[in-house]
């Protein structure tokens, strides 16, 4: 009972208007201090309560580093050089180690790409899932063990009592990801960060895991930051989509708008790729070139080297000389492109 009450209290602490997680002007650099190269430059992202936000982009665009920044779990070589991260009104970048441990697992749960590698091979999975419960809810070994079995049942692991006593080698990728989800949900977090949760899984298992994530979010009224390189997979689930390119958001807006009317040429290419569109010659449409990292960029639009619009249109000069701002195109739909003009009704407002 006390758990439920404290949860209820927790959820009303912040003013309703304030986003649960707010990342502002985030800069992350990798490398030895002094010679560090920027990989995220001026990243902005907001997640409201009970909202599902998909963060999409090619590998190397900075999605995972953005996620790890939110709980300050960046690898040793990476460092936040500038920006603000607020979670439920609290400044995450100002938190000490104790406060961060109280944030991780407790208020922000995380799951990752390679579920099997995320489990300690020498430790029974039940004991690993129980860690958050014992740590954040102060449950005894027995109570935590019983709760783990319940959680396993909730996330669809068959024979939960027996499986809790198994070691990670006995789990397939899909089952291991269910274990990770059980662990991430165990302390009833307000936000779940799922970093490419289905990338390493079979297609059929992918769908199951995504459905499970969706169900759990709706049931628990939990926010979800869903990170993926595949726009098609996540957009169906998400309320809002943010597309990242070379360390910045280049388009964001309601999921339906992004999918049906993408404004940025990069997003448009992503949509086409995910729909497996074919060109006039019957070949699959592919985006030419490869993603650049933030460090390779000096000036101009980050996407300009691969952009068909920049190559053909009169915008060419702008595209090469300075980077466009994230401009409103319709309601909350924004894109970072010189070719994007605000919709007429928006302009009048």
């Amino acid at each position: 009972m006390s758990v439920v009450v404290s949860l209820a209290e927790r959820r009303v602490t912040a003013a309703p208007a304030e986003p649960l997680l707010a990342i502002e002007d985030l800069h992350v650099a990798i490398g030895p201090s002094g010679r560090a190269a920027p990989v995220i430059e001026g990243m902005n992202l907001e997640i409201r309560r009970s909202e599902i936000v998909a963060l999409v982009g090619e590998s190397g665009s900075g999605k995972s580093l953005t996620a790890l920044s939110a709980t300050r779990l960046l690898p040793r070589a990476a460092e936040i050089t500038r920006g603000r991260i607020r979670f439920d009104g609290e400044d995450v970048l100002a938190m000490g180690p104790r406060a961060l441990d109280g944030l991780r697992g407790n208020r922000i749960g995380m799951i990752f790409q390679q579920p099997q590698a995320m489990l300690d091979p020498t430790c029974r999975v039940g004991d690993q899932v129980a860690e958050s419960l014992r740590l954040h809810r102060g449950l005894s070994r027995e109570a935590a063990g019983a709760r783990v079995v319940e959680l396993f049942r909730e996330v669809g692991i068959p024979a939960p009592e027996a499986r809790a006593r198994d070691f990670p080698y006995a789990f397939s990728g899909g089952m291991a990801q269910r274990v990770m989800i059980a662990a991430a949900l165990s302390a009833d977090p307000d936000l779940l960060i799922a970093d490419e949760p289905t990338t390493a899984l079979d297609v059929t298992v992918q769908a199951q895991i995504l459905r499970l994530l969706h169900e759990q979010c709706r049931q628990r009224r939990m926010s979800l930051l869903l990170i993926s390189h595949d726009l098609g997979i996540v957009a169906a689930l998400a309320d809002r989509v943010a597309v990242m390119y070379a360390g910045r958001v280049i388009e964001e807006g309601p999921a339906r708008a992004i999918l049906s009317a993408p404004r940025h040429p990069y997003t448009r290419a992503l949509v086409e790729c995910s729909l497996l569109k074919r060109d006039a010659g019957g070949r699959l449409v592919a985006l030419p070139g490869s993603a650049i990292s933030a460090r390779e960029l000096s000036h101009g639009c980050r996407f300009q080297p691969r952009c068909a619009i920049a190559a053909q249109s009169a915008h060419n000069h702008d595209c090469c000389s300075s980077e466009p701002a994230l401009a409103c195109c319709h309601g909350s739909h924004k894109a970072r492109c010189w070719a994007v003009k605000p919709e007429p009704e928006e302009a009048q407002q």
């Binding site: 489990l119 740590l135 070691f167 006995a170």
Partner: protein, 314 residues
Amino acid sequence: MWHFALRRGTVLLLTLFVVSVVAFLIPYIGEGDPALLVLRARIADPNVDPATLEAMRRQLGLDRPLAIQYLAWLGDALRGDFGLSFIRRAPVGDMLGGALLVSITLALSALLLALLVSAPLGTLAAMRPGGRADTAATLLTQTLIAIPEYWMAPMGILIFALWLGWLPSAGWDGPASLVLPALVLALRPLAYFTRIIRAAMIDVLDAPYITAARSRGLGMTQTVMRHGLRNGAMPVITLFALWLAGLLGGSVVVEVIFAIPGMGRLIYEAVINKDIPVLQAGFVAIVALAVVINTLVDLAYLAINPALRHSHGA
């Protein structure tokens, strides 16, 4: 699991068989006539009377076929009877038992001491590579590896026995006399353990499951204790076993300097004096112990890594 035990047991027996044959043949190495060796050890005269030699051959049973001799020797050896020492005229089994006990005590004390210091030191160094603890650990291990025991031991005696008078300078008489030799013996394994623990823990701490544990809210220390140490333990166990097997054969320098009646001194003296029965028994005992230690290491691997347990048909 049973399959594994059976296979290991077979390997163990085969190894011991080969070792026993080699040990049995030791007297035939060199001059080739054990009777001559025995007589030379007993009488100073280099010119041996042929009749005496023949009598000695019969007395020792050397006129029987080699295979029969081997089986007789093996039967005695299995009962712990390796005959009498040429020099001390005492049963070799008793001499060896005493010396082994001394060496095992010394080796285990030294290695456990080394592990006790190197585990936290190496882990601390691994948590911040290039940090202050890491630099200090590197400096310390480099120094310890470079300084030989024959310098360390006299310095220890000088400081702790002669100047401070805290510990006995030599001998084997109670726990106090164990401290200084164990300390000196621990320094080099301590350095090597620290290095391998540092390397293993750097790998382990970069593993995804460590990030996952941190994402559940486990602090760094808790994460290392719960998920780091076990995973980093494999190479440490291997190195520990190698050192243990090595030190059981005795550590001649330390045993001689501290006048400790261990395996190192026993075998050293047996080699100098051509005390064949002692050499035979010592050889068999050391190899047998090494094989046993290796088996224990494999069992330890199984205990640590459940996936291995699975693949061995548990």
